[in-house]
C-alpha cells in the first residue's frame, strides 16, 4: 500500500505530464501568454526540486518540444545537484531527446544556455555529441548560421569541416568555397540563380534582397522546401499561381493536416471534399497501423464550440486536435459514432461556433452503448455548466458500475490557473492532448489519472517507457 506522500507524488507527476503535453507558453483562448509561462515555469521548478528522476523520465513521453527544451535546459543548469547514477540516465535521455527535436529548437536551446551562462563540462559534451551527429554540417552552417556560430563558440568546438570555420566566423575572408552549398551561399549574394540551391528559409532573405517577385520565387524554390514548408505555403502558392508548390497531402502528419483543412474556407473544403477526406483518412490509417479496427464500438464527443478557436498564436488548435482525433478514432474503431457539440454531423466542415453542451452530447453518445467513450474538449462545459460531470458521475456510480464502458477525456488546452488541464469529473481520467497521433498512448496514460494509482506503478510505467525510448536509439 502506498503512503499518502506517494499518492501525491504520482498526482504531481501526472499533472506535470499533462502540462508538458499541452502547454507551449503561448496564448490560449482563456489565458494570456504571461499566465501560461508563469504557471509552466512554476511547475518545472517544483518538479525538478522534488522529483528529479521522474522529471527527467518525462523526456521519454510524448511531451511537446517546448517543454522538452525546458526540461533539458533545467537538467543541464542544475547538473551539480545530480548523483552519478542520475547523470548517466539523464545524459542518455537528453541525447536521445535532442536527436528527436527539430534542429532549430536545439540551436535555440544552446542560445538559451549561453544566455544563462551555463557552460559546465556536461553541457559542452552534450553540445559536442549532438553537433557531431548532425548529418550535414555544411547545410546546418547555412541554414542555422547564427545557431552554429554560437554553439561552436560556446562549446569551444572545432568545426567538422575545415571550411566551416571561415564560413561561419569570417565569410568575406574567402574568395571561394569548395563545398557546393557554401559556395552557393556566397554566390547568392550577387547571383539570383544561385539562391535556388539554398534552403527555403535562407533563400527567402536573398529573394527579398534581389527583389524577386514572390510568384517566381515560390515556383522555383518549391523543390527545396521541406514537407511542412510545402504544407504551410500551399495556399500562398495557390494565390500566386505557383503550381510547383504542391504538397502531397497524403504524406502529411494527421494533426497538421487537420489544421490545414480548418484554415481553408468552407467553399474550398466543399470543392475538394474527396481529396481532403482521402488525405485525412490516409494519415489516420498510417497512425493507427496494426491497431486499425481493433477498438470495437467507439463513441466520441468532440468539442467544436467557440472556445476551440484557440488564440492568435494557436489558431484553431483545439478544434484541429478534435478533428484529427475524429479521423483517427474512425480508423481505430470497429464501429464509430461521432457527436460534435454543435450538433453538426459533417466533420470536414466543422468550425468553432456556439456554446459547449457537453453533458447533453455525452448522454447522446452513451445512448449508443459504446465500449469506449472518448471526449475531446477543453473542459469548459457551459450549457449548462457542470452537467457533463454529473452525467459521468451518475453513469459510473449508478448506471454502469460494472465498467462496461470505459470513458476517457482528452484535453488539448492547459489551464494556467489550475496548473493542469481542466477535468470534467473525478471519476473520469483526463489526459492532455497535443497531437492526435499520440492518442493511443495517452489513453493508456490516462488510466493512471484516476487518482488511485500509486507512485510505484507510475514509476514502473515510466521506467518501461524510458527503456523503450532509449532502445529506439540503437
Amino acid at each position: 500500500m502506498d503512503s499518502y506522500g506517494d499518492l501525491i507524488a504520482a498526482d504531481d507527476v501526472l499533472l506535470f505530464v499533462n502540462a508538458a503535453i499541452t502547454s507551449t507558453g503561448q496564448r490560449e483562448f482563456h489565458s494570456e501568454e504571461g499566465a501560461q509561462r508563469l504557471s509552466l515555469d512554476f511547475l518545472h521548478e517544483y518538479m525538478i526540486g522534488n522529483y528529479r528522476d521522474l522529471y527527467a523520465a518525462v523526456l521519454a513521453l510524448d511531451i511537446n518540444d517546448h517543454n522538452a527544451v525546458l526540461i533539458v535546459r533545467r537538467l543541464l543548469e542544475s547538473a551539480r545537484e545530480a548523483t552519478d547514477e542520475q547523470r548517466r540516465t539523464e545524459g542518455r535521455l537528453i541525447a536521445r531527446r535532442l536527436a528527436l527535436l527539430p534542429p532549430q529548437r536545439v540551436y535555440g536551446l544552446f542560445r538559451e544556455l549561453r544566455r544563462a551562462k551555463v557552460n559546465n563540462r556536461r553541457t559542452r559534451a552534450v553540445m559536442r555529441d549532438w553537433i557531431a551527429a548532425r548529418p550535414d554540417p555544411a547545410f546546418d552552417a547555412v541554414k542555422y548560421r547564427g545557431g552554429v556560430k554560437l554553439a561552436l563558440r560556446h562549446a569551444h568546438l572545432a568545426p567538422a569541416v575545415e571550411e566551416l570555420g571561415p564560413f561561419v566566423f569570417a565569410p568575406s575572408s574567402r574568395k571561394r568555397f569548395t563545398t557546393p552549398i557554401l559556395e552557393s551561399w556566397r554566390r547568392a549574394h550577387y547571383e539570383q540563380a544561385a539562391l535556388y540551391e539554398l534552403p527555403y528559409t535562407v533563400a527567402e532573405g536573398f529573394a527579398a534582397k534581389h527583389r524577386i517577385p514572390r510568384a517566381v520565387f515560390l515556383e522555383r524554390i518549391a523543390p527545396r522546401m521541406t514537407r511542412l514548408e510545402q504544407l504551410r505555403l500551399q495556399e500562398s502558392g495557390r494565390e500566386h499561381k505557383a503550381g510547383a508548390v504542391r504538397a502531397d497531402l497524403t504524406r502529411m502528419p494527421l494533426t497538421r493536416l487537420a489544421s490545414y483543412v480548418l484554415g481553408l474556407p468552407v467553399a474550398d473544403r466543399l470543392a475538394r471534399r474527396a481529396e481532403l477526406t482521402d488525405a485525412l483518412r490516409a494519415a489516420a490509417r498510417r497512425v493507427a497501423g496494426v491497431h486499425r479496427g481493433s477498438w470495437g464500438r467507439v463513441a466520441a464527443v468532440l468539442d467544436d464550440s467557440f472556445s476551440t478557436v484557440g488564440s492568435g498564436q494557436k489558431r484553431r488548435r483545439p478544434l484541429a486536435a478534435a478533428l484529427a482525433a475524429h479521423y483517427l478514432l474512425e480508423a481505430l474503431a470497429g464501429h464509430y459514432t461521432a457527436f460534435w457539440t454543435s450538433g453538426h454531423t459533417d466533420a470536414l466542415l466543422s468550425r468553432p461556433q456556439g456554446p459547449t453542451p457537453l453533458g447533453h452530447r455525452i448522454l447522446d453518445a452513451l445512448d449508443t452503448a459504446p465500449a469506449r467513450l472518448v471526449i475531446v474538449s477543453d473542459g469548459w462545459d457551459n450549457a449548462p455548466p457542470g452537467l457533463a460531470g454529473e452525467v459521468l458521475r451518475i453513469w459510473r456510480t449508478r448506471l454502469d458500475p460494472g465498467r462496461r464502458t470505459s470513458v476517457v477525456h482528452l484535453n488539448p488546452v492547459y489551464d494556467a490557473e489550475d496548473f493542469d488541464v481542466r477535468r470534467l469529473a473525478p471519476t473520469v481520467p483526463t489526459a492532455g492532448l497535443r497531437d492526435a497521433e499520440d492518442l493511443p498512448a495517452l489513453v493508456e496514460l490516462a488510466q493512471f489519472a484516476e487518482g488511485r494509482t500509486g507512485k510505484a506503478e507510475l514509476t514502473a510505467y515510466l521506467d518501461a517507457r524510458t527503456a523503450h525510448f532509449l532502445k529506439e536509439e540503437r
Partner: protein, 385 residues
C-alpha cells in the same frame, strides 16, 4: 404602468468570467420584419443637439437605425439596404452633431441613439422645472428648468472584466439577447429581433454605456460561482431518467433566473412613454418607480402590436441617481410645492431643502431660502444637543 414582456425569449445557462455573469436569451422564432443596423460613431464625445439651448454633453457609442424589411429576406447582419445615414464623421473632428434624438431618415427608417432616449427621459423627467412659481424656487430654476442635465456613465471597456467576459462568451445558436450581471446584480439587459443582429452587435456591447454602480460592482466583485448542475443520483435508473433530470435542471435555472435574478427588472411595473410608432412596432422608453434602495432600470424598447419586446436596452441607475429621481418625482406629484412634499415625505421643509441640496439640486432654490434652511437645520441640531 407596464411590465416588460419577454415572451418568445428563453433563458439559457449563464456563463461566468470573474465577477461578470452573462445570461443569454434565445429566440426560437426570430422576427424578420424588423432589423437593426449599427452605426458606430468615432470615439470621442458626441454632442446631441436638442434645440438651440439644450446642449447636452455625453458619450455616445452607438446610433442605431431600425429598418423594416417587408419580405424578411436578407439574413446578413448588415442587411442589404444599408444606406449609411448621416455619412461618415468629418475627418479631423471627433464631435458629431445629432440634430434630434429620434428622427425619420427615410420613409421606413428610424434612427435613434439607444439609451440616450432613456437617459434623457430620466434627466428631463420634469424638464420644464417647477410648474408653479412658488416663491422658494430660484429664477434660474423657473427660467431654465433642470438644465444643464449631465449624468455620469461608464464605457463598457472601463468596466473591469467585461471586455474579457464578452470575448470568451460563447454565443448560442438563435441567441437574440444578453443580460449582463456584475457581482450578480443586473447591470443591463439587451435584446434584438434577430440572431444575426445580435451576432453583429455582440462586440459593440463593450463600448456601451453602463451605470456607475455596475462599474463599482465589477471592480470590487470576487469571482462568481457557476450555478453548477447537481443531479441527485437516487431514483435514476436509465439514461432517459438522467436526460429528464438534466432538462429539469435547465428549466429550474431559467425559472430561478427570470423570477429571482432578473426580478428587479421584469416584475417591477414601469412608466412607459411611447415615442414613435411605425408599422406594427412602437418605440418607447420607460422609467422605473424610483424606489430608493431597490433596483431601478431605465431603458428603451421596441414592441410589436401585442406588446412583446422586439428590442430592449436598459441602463441601471446608481443609488444616487435613484434618490434624485425619487425627489423629483415626489416634487412633481405635489406641483413642486415644497411644504406639501415635505409633509408627504414626513420631514420638515428645511430638511427637504437640505436633501435637495445634497442631491445636487441646491441651485434650484432661491439663495436666501436655502440659507434659511441651512440655519434651521444647524439650529435644530444645536437644540438637540
Amino acid at each position: 404602468m407596464t411590465v416588460l414582456d419577454l415572451t418568445g425569449l428563453t433563458t439559457r445557462p449563464s456563463q461566468v468570467w470573474g465577477g461578470v455573469r452573462l445570461v443569454p436569451l434565445v429566440r426560437e422564432e426570430p422576427l424578420t420584419d424588423l432589423r437593426l443596423h449599427e452605426e458606430i460613431y468615432s470615439d470621442g464625445p458626441g454632442l446631441v443637439e436638442l434645440g438651440p439651448r439644450d446642449h447636452y454633453l455625453s458619450y455616445i457609442p452607438h446610433g442605431f437605425v431600425a429598418a423594416w424589411t417587408g419580405d424578411g429576406s436578407p439574413a446578413a447582419a448588415y442587411g442589404t439596404r444599408l444606406d449609411g445615414p448621416g455619412g461618415g464623421p468629418p475627418p479631423a473632428m471627433p464631435l458629431r452633431f445629432h440634430r434630434r434624438m429620434v428622427r425619420r431618415q427615410a420613409k421606413d427608417r428610424l434612427r435613434f441613439l439607444p439609451l440616450h432616449l432613456a437617459l434623457e427621459g430620466y434627466l428631463a423627467l420634469h424638464f420644464g422645472g417647477p410648474v408653479i412659481a412658488w416663491q422658494e424656487w430660484s429664477d434660474r430654476a423657473l427660467r431654465g428648468g433642470l438644465s444643464p442635465r449631465v449624468e455620469e456613465a461608464y464605457v463598457g471597456a472601463q468596466v473591469r472584466g467585461l471586455g474579457d467576459a464578452l470575448r470568451v462568451f460563447e454565443i448560442h445558436p438563435n441567441q437574440c439577447g444578453l443580460l449582463v450581471y456584475t457581482g450578480d446584480a443586473l447591470a443591463s439587459a439587451f435584446a434584438v429581433p434577430h440572431p444575426d443582429d445580435y451576432r453583429a452587435l455582440h462586440p459593440s456591447l463593450v463600448s456601451d454605456l453602463y451605470g456607475e454602480l455596475v462599474h463599482h460592482y465589477a471592480l470590487l466583485a470576487a469571482p462568481l460561482p457557476d450555478f453548477r448542475t447537481a443531479i441527485d443520483g437516487a431514483g435514476i435508473r436509465s439514461l432517459a431518467d438522467l436526460r429528464a433530470a438534466a432538462r429539469r435542471q435547465e428549466r429550474d435555472w431559467a425559472l430561478f433566473h427570470d423570477t429571482t435574478m432578473a426580478g428587479g427588472l421584469l416584475d417591477v411595473p414601469h412608466t412607459a412613454q411611447s415615442v414613435y410608432r411605425l408599422g406594427r412596432f412602437t418605440l418607447s422608453r420607460f422609467l422605473p418607480p424610483f424606489a430608493p434602495k431597490h433596483e431601478n432600470h431605465i431603458g428603451e424598447t421596441i414592441t410589436d402590436e401585442n406588446g412583446r419586446i422586439a428590442y430592449l436596452k436598459t441602463f441601471r441607475l446608481s443609488e444616487n441617481q435613484v434618490r434624485r429621481g425619487h425627489l423629483l418625482s415626489r416634487l412633481a406629484e405635489r406641483q413642486w410645492n415644497l411644504a406639501d412634499t415635505a409633509a408627504e415625505l414626513g420631514v420638515t421643509e428645511a430638511q427637504l431643502g437640505m436633501r435637495l441640496e445634497s442631491a445636487g439640486f441646491g441651485h434650484l432654490l432661491r439663495r436666501d431660502v436655502l440659507d434659511l434652511y441651512r440655519k434651521v437645520a444647524v439650529g435644530t441640531l444645536g437644540r438637540k444637543r
